[in-house]
Amino acid sequence: MQSTHGDSMSRRHTTTDQAEPLLRITDLRTQFDTDDGVVRAVDGVSFEVNAGETVCLVGESGSGKTVTAESITRLVECPPGEITGRIEFRGENLTTASAARLREIRGAEIAHVFQNPQDALNPVISVGKQVAETVRIHEDVSERAARKRAIDLLDRAEVPDPATTADAYPHELSGGMKQRVLVAAALAGDPDLLVADEPTTALDVTIQAQILDLLADLQREMGMAVLFITHDLGVVARVADRVVVLYAGKVMESAPVDSLFADPGHPYTRALLACLPGRGRESGSIPGDLPSPTDPPTGCRFAPRCPFAVEACTTDSHPSLYPVAQEPDTDRDGAGTTAGDSPDVSTPLSAAPLDGAASRDLETTGDGVNTAHVAACIFHGPDRDAAHLDREVSWTVAEPDGGGR
């Protein structure tokens, strides 16, 4: 185990040098066989996470965020689940990796923090042992050495009096403290990618801020990438480098965080932003419900709820992801697909899903890496006018939250 770990460390450096993403997910499909039919929880999702950066997966409940996150190291139950597509972690395809290989990766290279700290700890094992468990699984160390490491990790996770708390049982700790313990357990294997699935949703607002700060500090110290799953755009504004917006198992939009808040390219993203509370308005909700998971609509999945939908939105010829212009002004003038200073991008990406090659093209046509802002909306197609978006209904679009980070 030790040697594997050392190996991985060196690989991390080479991949960073070549600007290869740490994690590249291509056309991920996770479906579940249920009595009501096949549920396509994740239906062709592609995105990347680079070393050290924070990517937010955003969407409503049921949009496939959690299933996407848990598909990475195959934590979803298979069967009834079935995962296809490519999940490349440092070039290694995890969808075809053996169960034993995945166990080596889990905890040591890709760690998870889950939503509800109340249930995520074993109620009858002391928290110190549960942190030490990660260490003991991946390294051949004595119980005493593992305990020492666990206390050290609890200390780094800012658990007060870690040596005493290590002997406490979960029911003796508060929710925020439990989440700190879970963060300590996740970081025990010195992972390169932390998948944080709504780690603050179940906590009080003040505790939420503390946990977000803790994660940010630890991310900086340990240089790990974070895939942060949330439905809270306030949290997104605070933590994200890039954002991937999911809806009904598909990527609706993918953008650097500033670009997304300044110029949302998909009506769904606009709707999410319009629902943000605390900007002098009541928090809203998007009218309508998520489409049926067993029988999703053809075309754009958001079309049935979209006030801007036109007939083409409900057909199969609906595009997957198109670049959104960088300059909102040129956008409004009707050059919906012309990405301002980079005319190359105006070439439609055809209706193909955003595979690795296409996304790399996009990135290199911009100012550098990760500037690509793409949305799966017909209004960004070749013959469409993005001004349509403001034509009939105007979402109450939130103010760009540039200073929020």
Binding site: R103, G107, F114, N116, V124, I125, I137, H171, L182
Partner: protein
């Protein structure tokens, strides 16, 4: 409200429960017509003596004509001093008869409980982790078979098949066989199988349900996300937590089998154990022996529950000592 105080109170409660059970039994004895006196009086009346005079003499000789409170104090004292009376049906003191009998009961009872717990938990956990597979369905079938089938019928079928047709095993228990011998193992095989079939099924269904509940729990997902192997997840996480309710069920199940199962099995296989002793005592209206064979399972039940309460201390740190 620490652990010591909890233990003290559990033990105290066990003592109180024992006292209540013993007193209740005394009450029942008082309101029951004395079978021995009736029999003696009827016999005397047949040979021309006065029915009532003989009956009174019989009661007087045994001190049963004294005031209730005096008898009650005597009764409690006798139980506490292990002076449990003389069994006329066995021709020896009650405690000696029980001392002879329990060895035979324990011989099939202890292996049956161990087998049913190991097999029941094993199949249950395996089924839980391999749900909706042929093995799971087979496990469920075996469980329902075990629950549905009457003990006595299953025992008779086994005797017919292995004892009469195949002639592999003895058809009844021979108490003259040495304790540690192949022959003894062979003659205990069928009683153990019959008793554990009934009990395995229950353990299996409960452990499967418990394991399914915990297999989906968030803390098991956390363990998997740490890279824990399936075996580690099963033993360190699922089973460890499931043991809390499962141990409760095991104790209850053991007692149920002890009360009901042993009567049938010992009768069919002719094992001279506690079940048969109790049955003979009842049939022959041997009051001191009936009393003893009633009280002993009650004591075992109370001790079992006490052990269970104490086991919680080790099994479940969430136990609230102040609340119980």
């Amino acid at each position: 409200m620490g652990m010591e105080w909890y233990v003290v109170r559990r033990v105290a409660w066990a003592v109180v429960a024992t006292y209540l059970a013993v007193s209740l039994t005394f009450g029942l004895l008082m309101v029951t017509p004395n079978a021995g006196a009736d029999v003696a009086a009827a016999q005397a009346a047949a040979s021309g003596q006065d029915y009532d005079a003989v009956r009174e003499r019989y009661l007087e000789r045994r001190g049963l004509d004294r005031p209730v409170e005096e008898q009650y104090i005597d009764y409690i004292t006798n139980i506490l001093t292990f002076d449990w009376g003389y069994s006329f049906s066995q021709g020896e003191p009650v405690l000696a008869a029980i001392g002879d009998a329990w060895v035979y009961s324990a011989q099939y009872f202890v292996p049956a409980i161990i087998i049913s717990a190991l097999l029941g938990y094993g199949i249950g956990l395996y089924s839980a982790l391999n749900r909706y597979t042929p093995t799971d369905y087979l496990g469920s079938f075996v469980a329902y078979f075990g629950i549905s089938i009457p003990n006595f019928w299953f025992a008779i079928v086994l005797i017919l098949l292995f004892g009469v047709v195949l002639r592999l095993l003895p058809t009844f228990y021979d108490s003259s066989v040495a304790l540690l011998s192949v022959q003894n193992v062979k003659q205990l095989l069928m009683p153990v199988v019959v008793l554990s079939t009934a009990s395995v099924a229950g353990q299996m269904r409960y452990s499967r349900a418990q394991a399914i509940e915990y297999a989906r729990s968030a803390f098991v997902k956390t363990a998997r996300a740490k890279g824990a192997s399936e075996w580690r997840v099963l033993t360190r996480h699922i089973l460890r937590v499931a043991l809390v309710p499962l141990s409760t069920i095991l104790i209850a199940d053991v007692l149920a089998v002890l009360f009901a199962g042993s009567f049938i099995i010992e009768t069919i296989f002719q094992i001279p154990g506690l079940g048969r002793l109790a049955l003979e005592a009842i049939q022959q209206k041997d009051t001191p022996l009936v009393l003893a064979t009633t009280l002993i399972p009650v004591f075992i039940a109370i001790i079992g529950n006490l052990l269970q309460d104490l086991a919680y201390v080790a099994l479940d740190p969430r136990i609230d000592y102040g609340d119980r």
